[in-house]
Subunit: 217 residues, 4 copies
DNA sequence: AATGAATGAGGGTTCATTCAT
DNA sequence: AATGAATGAACCCTCATTCAT
């Protein structure tokens, strides 16, 4: 929900703004993210932020939306194939693609990770919960699809598996960001980041896969 | 590292202080936890806090220590039995006991959960990372013990399993707090809390168990 | 090192600010000068100060610079004549001009006097020492000039005389401010101040001169 | 004006208290001297200070009195000889003895130096002024004595000379403390301090003497 | 559309002083 | 006589937000 002023901005300006905002909200949770600091980095007037967005929360929500849709776009190809063939095979592809997304878009990834850790507050409500429920619902639908197609045993408790999947995926993601230097991840140019983090990522992907596969046999 | 002032406090007062402090640091991360708010709730003077502790970080570290040692005390019986019999059986007991701890001591549990999510900062360093590494090391040692005793296949990569275990356990814990209303958990008297959350807890325990068991066969 | 914010201020506002800040830092040493009190007097918000300056020390340093350059401007004419004619004659002129500066700009004068009395601290370092060393160096250079020009006996120990001059001049200045009511000095309009303090000043100038003259014969 | 409780204290305790108090008020001006810090160093209860003294100012005044009387005791021999023989000779002795006092009792010396720099305040009034006036009066009396005895020219303006003497002596003292590390001075054992500072002191004494002698010929 | 000065509530922290024990 | 917990006002500093230009 940016104001029209933001949408009418020269693309370069808009993108510079987004990049800086993402960085600020990716390296800090909502409360600690500082508009003051962000505009200092950007070199624009503080007032401009309030020409573009109603308030801090408004900006935050916009960034979340952006990150979410970007992630969706990135994983679309895999999502489309849901229901075809073996579920575990699909899941592995999905997990791999997600990890690639984190590596290539650390700002988006880190922001979304922050969202999933946001404490309940008057201002944001239970954002983390809503975030997790969406993911859970997504997995539930995929699982149901696979059950319909016969590629997943009907005996499996879909809701239960979706919940577990959700917690594990968020758990690994959070672990990934906790164990690695977020700043290095984000400042690296895309290619450097990938090559530098490749091993770590592979280890994580393999681990996740090992854990999750047995759940569906 | 509380000052002697704090240790000499009348037990009721000290406990009231701890309760309120725990609540503040359990519902907020370090930066957002507010001494001002805490003393308002407690009905004491702001200066008193600084009679008890050197500074905010000092108080935080004390609460972490308290929570950690309380958790250790709570799980001691199970930890002592490490190495005896089947590892998975032991792990299930451990996980169940941990969950019980979270339910009976939601303030401690929630605080420790916050610790594991703390962003890297100049003031706290990489607290979350240190926290996770400790847990990982703990699991590594237990796994090695079981390998020595022959109750765990020598072929299993202990370091890898310890890492996975860590991420999953933190993941489930975080999920648990994200999905439930922390405020209700913490304000409930112990018994109410348990009965109210029993089903949720059982579901979590079972889920965790299902995921983890296959990793060691 | 004020921020651009301060420099862009409406001149009246900026001057009102400087006047009030000078008063606060002239009547109190660095530690005791209170931003809180200053803004109360000025009738502006506390936050504004931090729009203008990075922090208290930043403001202090700006005021020192201001006072120093103002004093330099005031005594420039005399300084330029250094080396011409008799040194003692020049020194008398210099002392008289300095005194006039103190009388016409009691806020600047008093601030600089405070600087020369600042205790060594982590925050400011040894400001007083640095301040005195500068003055001493200044006198050394002038004395060397006069020795080159032949208007001062080569036998005179320049470093020693410069040190003595420095201590005496600071001593008289400090004595002047200790013996007179600084508040009256500072609140008086310029002309009133001069006429009111004229006799005192003359007495001081004569005394200083009497002391110093014999040192160079 | 200590309370009777202080006077009834075991001598060792009283002396330890005085030593610590002196240190605190010698290294800080009145406002910045911290009772809190002092008792921490001493290892006594904060409340004790208020058993001994009415309030901070009360303690400060006691220390000033102590330092003053100690200095008097130290210079008594010289003072007694006032009026005998040449004034300048006497003054040199006096100045030398004063310097010795500063070196052997840096805490007292530094405290008195602080007193002479204290800003006018509601709490302390114009302490520095009173302090200087006393010294000035002292010199006036001595000078008058010498005029009576014929060892000083009747033509000399006694009040003027006393004033000048005062400013110069305070000036050199302040300069001495500004240019040297007060903490080193005070922590050194007496003998070390003297030997370490001997050269500096001699330089100062000679300088002072050179300046002042011509004033009385 | 862009600016950036102004605000004021809130943050953590220090400290002299009081008073019940 | 000694303690030390309690107080609360004061300190410097930060920040999202507003608004006149």
């Amino acid at each position: 929900m940016p104001k029209s002023t933001f949408l009418n901005l020269r693309p370069e300006k808009r993108e510079a703004f987004i990049t800086a905002a993402l960085y600020e909200f990716a390296t800090n949770n909502f409360q600690n993210a500082s508009i003051t600091n962000m505009v200092k980095v950007l070199g624009i007037a503080k007032g401009s932020v309030y020409q573009y967005f109603e308030h801090k929360k408004d900006l935050y929500e916009y960034l979340i939306e952006l990150a979410t849709s970007e992630k969706l776009r990135y994983t679309k190809k895999v999502i489309k194939k849901a229901g075809e063939g073996d579920f575990v095979k699909w899941l592995k592809k999905m997990m791999f693609q997600s990890l690639l997304f984190e590596l290539e878009n650390p700002r988006y990834g880190c922001l979304l990770n922050n969202v999933s850790q946001e404490r309940h507050s008057i201002e944001l409500g239970n954002l983390a919960q809503r975030n997790r429920l969406e993911t859970q619902k997504f997995f539930t639908q995929i699982l149901q699809l696979h059950q319909k197609n016969g590629s997943l045993a009907k005996s499996i408790d879909v809701d239960n598996r979706a919940m577990i999947l959700t917690h594990i995926m968020f758990g690994f993601t959070e672990g990934f960001y906790a164990m690695n230097d977020v700043d290095i991840l984000m400042h690296a140019s895309e290619n450097t980041a990938i090559s530098g983090m490749e091993d770590v990522a592979k280890k994580f992907a393999k681990a996740q896969s090992e854990v999750i596969s047995p759940m569906f046999q």
